[in-house]
């Protein structure tokens, strides 16, 4: 979706301001939000792409004015309500009012913690041969799905070169909609700065994205 989350190349957000000796969490609730998202995801309430899509779907003014973990909380609430795991009334009251909906992998307990400390595997078996190889010139397709996608706007329509092949991985555009994993070849595609930002841009800059095969066409 063409949302405000797709920030690459936008102007006006000001300087980057690193915080010296930044703590891992600024308040206790941030850590609880992180833990709830990880736990409910691991229990099978949603996949990572769906959770990204719900955060992106927050109203633009909310997305832009909320801290990172506030976005996580708001996205989590919306997602759990939409999927029927909790009711809006329950979130408002802070208590369970209706029976639970079964979770794919059951209740998240301390025994499951170890499992989430290792990153998931997104690699899958190839369904078809790769269409592209390192060195190929490709154009990022001019597509604008209203649903979740990982092709940022700033590369669409532009020509780059395939640099690496990462094998076949879960396709977020399908997984986010719970339409199956639909695995696709994944490539690192490199663009010249001038191709993306015009002839006046810094000539020493190159930018790459990781692009799934359906995002690309031969150039």
């Amino acid at each position: 979706m063409n949302g405000v989350h797709d920030m690459g190349g936008m102007d006006g957000f000001g300087k980057v301001e690193p915080e010296p000796n930044e703590p891992m969490f600024h308040t206790r609730w941030e850590s609880r939000v992180l833990a709830m998202v990880r736990a409910m995801g691991a229990a099978g309430a949603f996949n990572i792409d769906t959770s990204r899509f719900y955060r992106e779907s927050l109203p633009p003014h909310v997305y832009l004015s909320s801290s990172y973990y506030k976005k996580w909380l708001l996205g989590l609430e919306d997602m759990l309500i939409a999927k029927g795991f909790v009711g809006k009334d329950e979130v408002g009251k802070g208590h369970a009012l209706a029976p639970a909906k079964p979770l794919k992998r059951g209740k998240f307990t301390a025994a499951d913690v170890e499992r989430i400390m290792v990153r998931g595997k997104f690699g899958r078996d190839a369904q078809a041969p790769a269409k592209f190889k390192a060195g190929d010139r490709v154009r990022a397709r001019n597509i604008h799905p209203a649903t979740h996608t990982r092709l940022p706007r700033y590369v669409r329509g532009h020509v780059g070169v395939v640099e690496r092949d990462h094998g076949v991985q879960v396709f977020p555009d399908s997984a986010a909609n719970e339409a199956g994993e639909n695995p696709q070849w994944l490539y690192t595609v490199v663009f010249d700065g001038a191709e993306l930002w015009g002839p006046d841009s810094d000539p020493t800059v190159k930018i790459s994205v990781d692009a799934f095969e359906p995002y690309l066409e031969k150039a």
């Binding site: 957000f13 308040t27 992180l34 229990a43 029976p99 990153r119 998931g120 990462h166 800059v205």
Partner: protein, 191 residues
């Protein structure tokens, strides 16, 4: 926010979806097990051991996995090497993808709009915000983490560290040097 978060946690617990003690354990695991010390050990080993460096650049998931002593790493890790000719910098313009096992949870600036918007368009300007400047002919390569691949920058080994042990070298490796928004510490400089 505190109340709103507690309300949701109460609902999830009362409905039997999560055990609150398991949430405590998740937070504790993040607070104690992951962090830039993991990445620093990998970088230091690459500086000290050319065979490991080759293996790391070839297949970082495999190379780091084989170390054993670093917290377990998931798939799809790619290490990218800084050279005098090329400086690498990592961003996630769409959200906040970051190599958690290697670097811990990302800092606020990495997840915020100024970095996500400008890193791909004006990386030199962003580096300036960090007090970092590069020779004007150095190529800057920005890696936008748009899929599940996670990138770890292998910074250049600081001069004046000949014969240093991996433990000593690891002390010089900063989090930002592994994101590409900083350099390793200089030996002998006040930290």
């Amino acid at each position: 926010m505190e109340l709103r978060v507690r309300a949701l946690e109460t609902v999830l617990s009362e409905k039997g979806y999560v055990d609150p003690a398991a949430l405590d354990a998740i937070v504790q695991a993040y607070e104690t097990r992951i962090g830039p010390h993991n990445g620093a050990r990998v970088v230091a080993k690459a500086w000290a051991d050319p065979a490991f460096k080759r293996a790391l650049l070839e297949d970082a998931t495999k190379a780091v996995g084989a170390l054993g002593h670093v917290s377990r790493v998931g798939d799809h890790l790619v290490a990218i090497e800084n050279t005098p000719e090329r400086h690498n910098m990592v961003v996630c313009t769409l959200c906040s993808c970051y190599p958690w096992e290697m670097l811990g949870l990302p800092p606020v600036w990495y997840k915020a709009a100024p970095y996500r918007s400008r890193a791909v368009k004006d990386p030199r300007g962003v580096l300036k915000d960090f007090g970092v400047s590069l020779p004007k002919e150095t190529e800057i390569r920005v890696w936008d983490s748009t899929a599940e691949t996670r990138f770890l920058v292998l910074p250049m080994r600081p001069k004046g560290t000949d014969g240093w042990s991996e433990e000593q070298l690891a002390e010089l490796v900063t989090r930002d040097s592994m994101i590409g928004t900083g350099f390793p510490k200089t030996p002998g400089a006040p930290s």
